[in-house]
């Protein structure tokens, strides 16, 4: 019921001013589940994959393999209000309740499907459920919890697991001579081994022409998405709300099966957002009183929080979540795998030089080399989006996104006098979130934002 309610069209009465162009992008998520179920029915290969920031998708596309993403399925179950029984089942199976909420949801689902129902999809599964995979594709990108998650699924599913490693140096060591080249070599070897494995598994060769086109199309698609999120959303008032970002990000974040088609949809979104800027129309149907960043994974079961805050003039203008950064020049690289690696895995120096004016980039790089850290590099959104405040969502089940929030709070305040508020909850488990208490905290936070607005004015900051 929650899902059906959520896909109503835009309405001026609603506090958030949803973009029309978002709906076909969000519909792609439903399409993914439908396609995967259809493929399973037709005995075609299906994978359960982890978000891996773009390494697996062009290979899956070139091998015609459908994939679902259990992390995404965790958000689907949470938003549909049906995650609790899966979480309870995971706990009953013996998995600690502090583990990643997406993983717990997946364990509960797998236990129900494979232990209770002999491989039949549970009737209560939203979106028709996730069919039995032929392979589990794990990834070392983003967080370490994921190394063990798919291995633990071996308790329920007798299919192979492939884990794609990712370098995870800290910034200082990443700037050592030759470090980036070695990271690229590492990823290239990982990908070559993965391609060989998949070709053996499915008995089919990768179509390298298609693979190559796919990367180019994905880069073009991401460029449009980047323009929307990182350029247009800096406008005042911000023309696109975080909820539209969440609804539209899937293709760029997880996988675009047809990046050309998605690019066209993103272009439609770009046009709509651009037109809103020309009309000075905000992403909320109320005057933009506060420009807010939402950092951390969202409480997917309680997205109505954003609507309640929009009523008070809070416009959520930026997430720390996913945004493909400016594209490096990789066109001339002949080896398509190397092109993919250099597109997806960026050099720290290049990232900083692309994000900051030359003098500032130099200062940041010097700080990292000499002191091992740079305050500015981590909190740049504060200035770029002229934030009045940041809400950090501290997830009980996610160390990676929550662990350093306190440190980032201090840095935001120190660098740009942007205050922030930590709210507690979880990505999947609705029982860990207190809507009323959170709203009270947010209301009180308005006074803090007002105070720091005057501090910024006194100190000559632009907003």
């Amino acid at each position: 019921m929650t899902m059906e309610k959520a896909i109503r069209g835009p309405s001026p009465e609603r506090p958030i001013n949803r973009l029309k162009s978002m709906y076909p992008l969000r519909a792609l998520v439903d399409e993914t589940y439908r396609d995967t179920l259809a493929a399973a029915k037709a005995n075609k290969p299906v994978a359960w994959s982890m978000l891996d920031f773009g390494f697996y998708p062009p290979i899956l596309n070139a091998l015609d393999i459908e994939a679902v993403y259990p992390e995404n399925y965790g958000t689907v179950c949470a938003a549909a209000g049906v995650a609790t029984p899966f979480l309870d089942r995971s706990e009953a199976e013996g998995f600690p309740t502090h583990l990643c909420g997406y993983a717990q949801n997946c364990f509960g689902y797998a236990a129900r499907m494979f232990h209770d129902l002999g491989g039949k999809i549970p009737e209560e599964a939203p979106q028709g459920g996730m069919p039995k995979p032929m392979v589990l594709l794990a990834s070392g990108a983003a967080c370490d919890a994921r190394f063990k998650w798919f291995q633990s699924l071996g308790r329920y599913i007798d299919v192979p697991v492939w884990t794609l490693e990712s370098p995870r140096s800290s910034m200082k060591e990443s700037l050592m001579p030759g470090a980036y080249e070695r990271e690229v070599d590492f990823l290239l070897r990982e990908l070559r081994d993965f391609v060989a494995f998949m070709e053996r598994l499915v008995g089919k060769k990768v179509d390298w022409d298609r693979f190559s086109e796919d990367i180019d199309d994905s880069r073009a698609m991401d460029a449009v998405w980047y323009s929307i999120t990182d350029e247009l959303r800096t406008a005042r008032p911000c023309p696109m709300h975080t909820r539209d970002h969440y609804s539209a990000m899937n293709s760029s974040l997880f996988r675009a099966k047809d990046p050309q088609r998605v690019k066209k949809l993103y272009e439609d979104m770009y046009d709509e957002v651009r037109a809103r800027i020309d009309r000075k129309e905000a992403g909320i149907n109320r005057p933009e009183k506060y420009r807010i960043g939402f950092f951390g994974l969202a409480p997917w079961h309680a997205l109505v929080l954003f609507d309640k805050l929009a009523e008070r003039g809070w416009n959520f203008v930026r997430e720390d979540y996913h945004s493909p950064r400016p594209l490096p020049e990789v066109d001339k690289i002949q080896d398509p795998l190397e092109r993919l690696v250099k597109y997806r895995h960026r050099e720290v120096r290049q990232e900083i030089e692309a994000e900051f004016p030359p003098n500032e980039a130099e200062e940041i790089l010097r700080d990292i080399k000499e002191k091992g850290f740079s305050i500015k590099s981590g909190v740049r959104f504060g200035r770029k989006y002229q934030l009045d405040g940041v809400i950090f969502h501290s997830n009980l089940t996610c160390r990676q996104m929550s662990g350093t929030q306190n440190s980032r709070q201090k840095n935001l305040l120190e660098a740009y006098r942007v205050p922030s508020l930590i709210i507690e909850g979880d990505i999947v488990d609705a029982r860990l979130f207190d809507m009323e208490g959170t709203m009270k905290k947010c209301e009180a936070f308005e006074e803090t934002m007002e105070y720091y607005r005057s501090v910024r004015a006194k100190e000559g900051l632009e907003w």
Partner: protein, 389 residues
């Protein structure tokens, strides 16, 4: 003033004030290099003529400063390590080496560098798999570590120096294994509490001094009148870091002896040797990537097969524990983990399946890093001892 204590008494003395010797050495011109968890390559620190000093938290000290920097959803051991650092109790460290063990150990370097003045720091990324590409990549990362370590200490890490350091640390490993042999009789000759005290102590000393202390302890335990009593439960304790005797003490105050462990202030650091290879860096890379038993590294029965065999997978991951239970005649298992330790948490159902197949009763205890949090667990351990025998 030089101490006159020896063996277990000396270990107890250092355990109760573990920085005393390191500070003394520093006053005499030695560089002291802290490290977090088991993955920083301590042989290289020793070869660079510096003293590796393992950073621990303090179970008995409330966390009051770290919460301004790290969320409370992070394991309380790592928060405590940071807290102690922020309170200046590690200000005798000249350098600190970090490694990628888990998500939290990747966060610590940034916060430490920003908040705790330390002359030298280095972070060693450590892959989680044993893929050939991971091994090659990790080997290059150790070369990076060598470059910064040489610059910091001014000592060139020649193959000879490295080989000598590896030999010294391998001797320490052999001595610790000898110590564990004394836990095989019933009753064991050495308690779990005493074992932890000795091992935490040697992680606070230069390797030669630690080896000498181990020799004294082994000699003392061999010749003393056994003070331990035979108890119904001979337990294996598996899990995340235990750097205070409180947890083991709680178990051994019941009808149970902890005769073997699989923890990182226990057997994990000592039950394998670093292989002696013609280029010593190769042996170090092999050991630190694949031979330490922490669940942070993915071990699997078959990489790239067409089908997953769950039993074979469990055997590949936990087969060594079967040997422990056989060799130390274990009749019950405690799986324990600090809350929010994901690496250990994911292993629990699989491990319980594995021990169930072996016919061994097991319980899982999750706890916070505080003495008070241990009290409610006592009843559960008591329950386990009642099942046994």
């Amino acid at each position: 003033m030089p101490t006159t204590l020896m063996g277990l008494d000396r270990a107890r003395e250092i355990y109760s004030d573990r920085s005393q010797r390191a500070k003394e050495l520093r006053r005499n011109g030695k560089k002291i290099t802290g490290y977090i968890c088991l993955y920083p390559v301590i042989e290289m620190i020793t070869a660079a003529d510096s003293v590796p000093y393992r950073i621990f938290g303090d179970l008995r000290e409330p966390i009051t400063k770290a919460d301004s920097h790290m969320a409370t959803v992070v394991c309380s051991f790592m928060r405590s390590c940071l807290d102690i650092g922020l309170k200046g109790r590690y200000d005798f460290l000249d350098g600190v080496v970090f490694a990628h063990v888990c998500d939290v150990t990747c966060m610590i370097p940034g916060i430490w560098r920003q908040t705790i003045p330390t002359k030298y720091t280095h972070f060693i990324d450590t892959p989680h798999t044993l893929h050939p590409s991971s091994r090659e990549y990790f080997r290059t990362l150790l070369d990076d570590f060598r470059v910064t370590l040489e610059a910091y200490t001014g000592v060139k890490l020649t193959p000879e120096r490295l080989k000598k350091a590896i030999q010294l640390h391998n001797t320490q490993r052999a001595l610790v294994r000898e110590l564990y042999e004394m836990k095989k009789p019933d009753p064991p000759l050495l308690s779990g509490v005493e074992t932890l005290i000795v091992l935490k102590t040697i992680m606070s000393l230069p390797v030669e001094e630690g080896n000498n202390l181990l020799r004294e302890v082994i000699q003392e335990v061999k010749t003393r009148h056994n003070t331990l009593t035979k108890k119904k439960a001979r337990l294996l304790v598996w899990g995340s870091v235990l750097d205070d005797t409180a947890f083991i003490d709680m178990i051994e105050s019941l009808d149970a002896n902890v005769v073997i462990d699989d923890t990182c202030v226990g057997s994990r650091a000592y039950f394998n040797d670093v292989p002696m290879t013609s280029n010593p860096m190769d042996g170090l890379a092999q050991y630190y990537l694949s031979d330490i038993k922490c669940p942070r590294t993915v071990k699997e029965a078959e990489h790239g097969g067409k089908r997953k065999d769950y039993k074979a997978d469990l055997e590949a991951r936990f087969g060594y524990l079967k040997e422990y239970t056989r060799d130390w005649n274990v009749n019950g298992v405690i799986l324990q983990s600090l809350r929010y330790c994901d690496g250990h948490g994911y292993e629990v159902p699989g491990l319980k399946d594995y021990f169930e197949d072996l016919g061994l009763p097991s319980i899982y205890l999750e706890h916070d890093y505080s003495v008070a949090a241990l009290a409610p667990l006592r009843t559960r351990v008591q329950g386990l001892t009642e099942i046994i025998g």
